[in-house]
């Protein structure tokens, strides 16, 4: 059941990527957030990239931590 849901989500995400690739155009939107990311030769874009990668790794570690914790719990209840 979980596998089906997962593969459905993955297919949907991959489809979304192809749609996004087709809809590519120059982002010229104004606003304080866009101005901030374009300032200082767009260095904040890469700061954002690294923050995203780091948050991804941390979420992975937290999930792993919880999974191992659950296994330990199971082990404690029926050794």
């Amino acid at each position: 059941m979980i596998n089906k849901a997962f593969s459905f989500c993955l297919t949907l995400a991959l489809l979304c990527i192809s749609v996004l690739a087709n809809a590519q155009q120059q982002n010229t939107e104004k606003g304080p957030i866009n101005e901030f990311f374009r300032s200082n030769d767009k260095i904040y874009v890469i700061v954002g990239v690294l923050v995203i990668i780091f948050i991804g790794i941390v979420l992975f570690l937290i999930r792993l931590d919880r999974k191992i914790g659950k296994l330990e719990e199971k082990e404690r209840n029926n050794p």
Binding site: I43, Y44, I46, V47, L50, V51, F54, V58, L61, I62, L64, D65, I68, L71, E72, E75
Partner: protein
């Protein structure tokens, strides 16, 4: 939740290090340009490696004093995580050297000696895999680990400080003494040391907990 506070501290410190590491004002010196920011990410890899290898030798000594196999498993886990951070440090340093020293693998003594030290620890991991008898493996690898650590410190810390090196802190270049590093960099560097070290301890604790579940016959 009470026992997880240090993981949250590691995440917060590292988020600060990533954001401040790219945005803080740094002095532009020589051919380094903006690449001096690598200090916040390259040097902590080595701090993590030293922390893990120190944990590893301490547990090897514990093992040799009581012959308790649990200690040997923990020493091996620490050596594995330490080698990983060592390889990361070497890779980041090689990339950095390509664009500042004019070569990926230079004749810099610290780089060469560190490559040797990492190879010595990789040999430790291979040695463990080559012995099937648990007690024999634990004893031989614990003794080897002591020799490996006894080489690690001279190779990566003492020799590079005695001879000319491109790294800071050698015979002819300034080190990280109180006057040599700009204050703005220290504000990021020290949190980076703490944050990355906590992250490496977190990864190490996950490996140990996994090993405890996997090797139930030893951890009873």
């Amino acid at each position: 939740m009470a026992k997880h506070w240090w993981k949250a501290l590691a995440i917060l410190l590292l988020l600060y290090v990533i954001i401040a590491g790219f945005t803080v004002e740094i002095p532009i010196i020589g051919t380094n340009g903006q690449s001096s920011r690598g200090l916040f990410f390259h040097v902590p890899m080595w701090i993590c490696m030293y922390t893990m290898f120190t944990i590893s030798i301490v547990y090897s000594l514990f093992f040799l004093s009581k012959y308790d196999l649990k200690k040997d498993v923990i020493a091996a886990a620490a050596a594995g995580v330490g080698s990983f951070f060592g390889v990361m440090g070497f890779a980041t340093g090689s990339l950095w050297a390509t664009y500042t020293w004019g070569g990926t693998l230079t004749d810099d003594p610290k780089q060469m000696c560190t490559a040797l030290a990492i190879l010595i620890y990789l040999a430790y991991l291979v040695l463990r895999l080559s012995i099937h008898d648990l007690d024999k493996r634990a004893r031989i690898s614990a003794v080897y680990n002591i020799f490996a650590y006894a080489l690690l410190i001279p190779l990566t810390y003492i020799i590079p400080r005695m001879v000319d090196s491109l790294h800071p802190g050698s015979a002819t270049t300034p080190g990280f003494a109180s006057k040599d590093t700009s204050g703005s960099m220290k504000q990021v560097l020290y949190p980076a040391f703490i944050g990355w070290t906590l992250l490496s301890v977190w990864i190490f604790s996950l490996v140990v907990r996994y090993k405890k579940l996997q090797l139930k016959n030893i951890f009873k």
